[in-house]
Symmetry: C3
Subunit: 325 residues, 3 copies
C-alpha cells in the first residue's frame, strides 16, 4: 500500500493535472478524515456504486462537480498550500454535491446551485477556521452543514429549484411508540452498515464495505472506530426507543460514527481514557441526533451531519484534558 | 457564621469524603453564584422541601444524583482543582437533575438520562470555558441550558423517555389581552417570591425564604439584589402586559433575578453606576424572557435560564467599562 | 463638498451641542458605512420623506429618538471617543427606531420600547465588538438585528405592545410558482431602487435617489456598488424564481445591496479580484435572504438585515486573503 502511494506521489510531482486529481481525491477522503488519495478513490467508487444502483447518478456527479469547483475556488483564493494539498478545501464541497443530488430535483438551475454552493464552502471554511483558530478545534463539516442548510432552506422561496426530495415541514409531535418496535437481528446489522454509508448520504451495504476498505487502507483504527461507533449508535438508539426504520436506514447512526472516528482515532492520541470518552460522546451524539431531528422538523430540512459537528465540538473543545494525536 | 465555616473546612481537610460532600454543596450554591457549602445546604433543603410537598421527590433526588455524577466526571477529567473545589463543575449538573425531575416521567431510562446528561455538562462546561476564556466572561448556566435542551428535545424522538411534563409544541400567536388582567396585591408578592424559587424550577413561598437565607449567609448584597430583581421583574412584566398567571407563578421573573444578582452583586464592583446598569439589564431580561417564550413554543420545550444567560452575556461582555468585583 | 465639511467640523469644535448633532448624523450615515454628517443628513431626509408620504411619521421620529438615546447611552458608558465620533454607536439604534415605527403600533409603551431597545443596542455593540476583536471583522448591523428580533418576538408575549405590522407566523411551505411570474421592465427598475431604500425599511423611489446622493457625496464607489448590488440582486432573485412582489418591493435586494457595498467599497481595497468576490457574495446573499425568509416564518418576524450580516461575515472572515481598505 505504501509503495503504491509513493509511486502515485511521484507521478503527481511531475504533473499539475495529476496533482489536481490528487487534491480532489484527498478532499473526498477527508469526509472521513483520511488524507489519502486511495481512501478518497475507494470512497468515490463506493458513492458511485450506491448512487448508480439507486438510479440517482446525480448524487455522484454532483459530488464530483462540487469538489472540483471547491478546489478551484480554493486555488483562486490562494489558500495555504498544505491545507489545499491535504484536501481540506474539498470535503465540504463534495458533501454539498451529494446533498443536492439527494434532495433537489434536476434542472438547469440545479447545476448552478451545486457550483455556487460548492464555491461558497471555501470562504465559509476559511471564515470558520479564522474564528476557531484560537480554540485549537477543527471546523469539521460545519462549513458543509451551514452552506447546505442555507441553500436547502432557500428552495422553499425559489421556484426555479425543486426541493422534491426534502422532508415536509412538520409540527413537533412525540414519536408513536409503535414505530419503535423491536427488530430482527438482520435489521440490526443492516443498521450498522448503513450508519456508515449515510455519512455520505447513501444507504447501501456494498458501499459500506468499500467505505470501510477506504478507511482501513489509511487507518485501521479509523475503520475499527467506525464499526464500533455504528454498533454503539444502533444499540443506543434502540435502547432509547428511536424509530426503527430510521435506525435500520442508518439515519440515527451516521453522525455518531463520525464522532467515534474523530474522537477515538483522529484528534486524540488513542488509549483507554480516550476510548471511554469517545464512547460517551458517541452515545451523546445519538441524543443530539434525536434532538436535531426535532429542531429541523418545522423547517423541512434534514439535519445533515450537524449532530456530529455539535457533539464533537463539545467533546473536542476541552482538548487540554487529553493528549492530542 | 464564619466560625461554623472554618470548623467545616477544618473537618474537610482531614476527610476525602467530606471534601467530596463540600464540592457538591458548593456546586448547589453556585446555582446562585455562592461558593459556600452552607448556602448550598440551605438551597438543597429549600429544593427538597418544595420537591416533597409538591409530591415530586424525583426533582430533589434527580438533582442530587446529577450533581454527584457531575463532580465525579470532573474528577475523572482532571479539571482544575480550584474550580472543582469552588463547585464550578456541579451547578449545571444539579440543574439538569431538577429539570429532568420536573419535566420527564420516571422510568428506568430516566435514571440513565439524568446520569448521562449530568456527566455531559462537564465537557460542555470545559468547552464553553475554552471558547470564552479570551472574552473574560463566565459560561453562567449555558452548559445546563444547552445540554438540557438537547436531552429534552430528543424525548420527542425517543419512546423510552416520557416528556410528560413538557409544554405542548404550539404555533406562535399573540397573547390574549384578557390573560394580562390586573392582579391583587397578594399575587404581586407571591410573584416576587416565586420568581426567586423558579431559579431552581420550584414555585414555593417557603422555599423562597430558605433560598434567601442561603444567599444572605454568604452575601447580603446578593440577597438584596435577588429581592430587588424580583420586584423589578414582576413590575416590568405587568407593565408590559405579560400573562398574569406566568408572572404570579414566577415564570417571568427567575431569569431577571439571576441577571440582577450576577450584574449587581457578583461580577461587577457594586456602586451606583453598576446598579443603574443592572436595573436596565434586569428590565431587558424580562423582554428576552418574553422573546424566548415565543422562540421555544414551536419546539415544545421550556426556556430554562436561557434569557438570563443571553441578557447577562450582552451586559457582561462590555466589562472593560466597569470595575470588576 | 470638502469645504462644506471643513466648515461644519470647525463649527462642531466650538459647540458641544453641534458635536452631539454631528455624532448622530454620522450614526445615521453609518447605516450604509458612511462616516460623514452630510451623508447622514441626506439619509435622514430620505427616510423622513418616505416616512411622511406613506403616512407613517413614527418611522422617522422613532429613528431620531432611538439614535439620540443610543448616543447618550454610549456617552454614559464611556465608550471610546473615536468610535463615538464616527457614529459607530448610533446606526444600530437608528435602525431600531425605524423598525419599531414600521412594525409596531403606537402607544405610550411604544416610546419606552424604542428608548429601551435603543439603549440596549450599545452594550450589545460593545459585547459583540469584544467577541469579534480577535477576528478582525466588524459587528455590522448584528447588534440591531439581535436586539430588534428579541423586542419584536416579545410583542407576542406582551399585551401592552401591539405588533400590528408584523407578518403572521406561518408554516413553511414551498413558493407557489405562479407568484414568480416574469415582470415588466418597469418593475425591474422599481425593484432595483427599492432594494436600496429597504436598507432603511422604506420602499420609495424618491428616497432611493436621496440615499444614492448621500452615498455619492462621501464615496462614489459606495454609490456605484449599491446600484450594482441592487441590479445583481434583482436579476438573481428573478433567475431563481423568487416571488415577484417581494423583488419589486425591494425585499429580496436590500441585504445584497449592503453586502455589495461592504465588500466592494468599504472593507477591502477595491480591485478586480475583490469585485468578483463581492459579486459572488452578493449572489449568495440573495440565497441567504431566501433561506432566512423561511427560517423566520414560523416566528412571525422579519429577517431585517440578518442575511447581509451572515453572508458578509462569511466573506469578511477570510480577510487575510485580500488587502484591507
Amino acid at each position: 500500500m505504501k509503495g503504491l502511494l509513493s509511486w502515485w506521489e511521484g507521478l503527481c510531482k511531475g504533473s499539475a493535472i495529476l496533482r489536481f486529481v490528487d487534491y480532489n481525491l484527498r478532499g473526498i477522503g477527508q469526509v472521513m478524515f483520511q488524507d489519502n488519495p486511495l481512501s478518497g478513490l475507494l470512497f468515490f467508487i463506493a458513492i458511485g456504486w450506491g448512487s448508480f444502483v439507486s438510479g440517482m447518478p446525480q448524487v455522484a456527479i454532483g459530488g464530483l462537480v462540487a469538489v472540483i469547483v471547491g478546489t478551484l475556488t480554493a486555488q483562486w483564493l490562494r489558500v495555504d498550500a498544505a491545507g489545499l494539498a491535504a484536501g481540506l478545501y474539498g470535503y465540504n464541497a463534495y458533501l454539498i454535491g451529494l446533498t443536492f443530488g439527494t434532495f433537489l430535483g434536476l434542472s438547469p438551475m440545479w447545476w448552478i446551485y451545486v457550483a455556487l454552493a460548492g464555491a461558497v464552502t471555501v470562504p465559509v471554511t476559511l471564515g470558520i477556521a479564522n474564528v476557531f483558530k484560537g480554540w485549537g478545534v477543527a471546523a469539521l463539516t460545519a462549513p458543509f452543514v451551514l452552506t447546505a442548510w442555507l441553500f436547502l432552506l432557500a428552495t422553499y422561496a425559489f421556484s426555479a429549484i425543486e426541493g422534491s426530495g426534502l422532508p415536509m415541514a412538520a409540527e413537533v409531535v412525540a414519536i408513536d411508540p409503535a414505530a419503535a418496535n423491536p427488530l430482527a437481528l438482520g435489521d440490526f446489522f443492516v443498521g450498522i452498515l448503513k450508519s456508515i454509508t449515510q455519512v455520505f448520504l447513501k444507504a447501501s451495504v456494498v458501499a459500506a464495505l468499500l467505505l470501510l476498505a477506504g478507511l482501513a487502507v489509511n487507518s485501521p483504527a479509523a475503520a475499527a472506530f467506525a464499526v464500533g461507533g455504528a454498533v454503539v449508535a444502533v444499540a443506543t438508539a434502540h435502547a432509547l426507543g428511536a424509530e426503527s426504520d430510521l435506525i435500520t436506514g442508518g439515519l440515527m447512526g451516521f453522525s455518531p460514527v463520525l464522532t467515534a472516528v474523530a474522537l477515538g482515532a483522529v484528534f486524540y492520541k488513542p488509549g483507554v481514557r480516550v476510548a471511554v470518552y469517545a464512547l460517551v460522546a458517541t452515545v451523546f451524539t445519538v441524543v443530539v441526533q434525536g434532538a436535531l431531528n426535532v429542531v429541523v422538523a418545522p423547517f423541512g430540512i434534514p439535519t445533515l451531519t450537524a449532530p456530529f459537528v455539535l457533539a464533537s465540538w463539545f467533546f473536542l473543545l476541552p482538548r487540554q484534558h487529553f493528549e492530542q494525536a
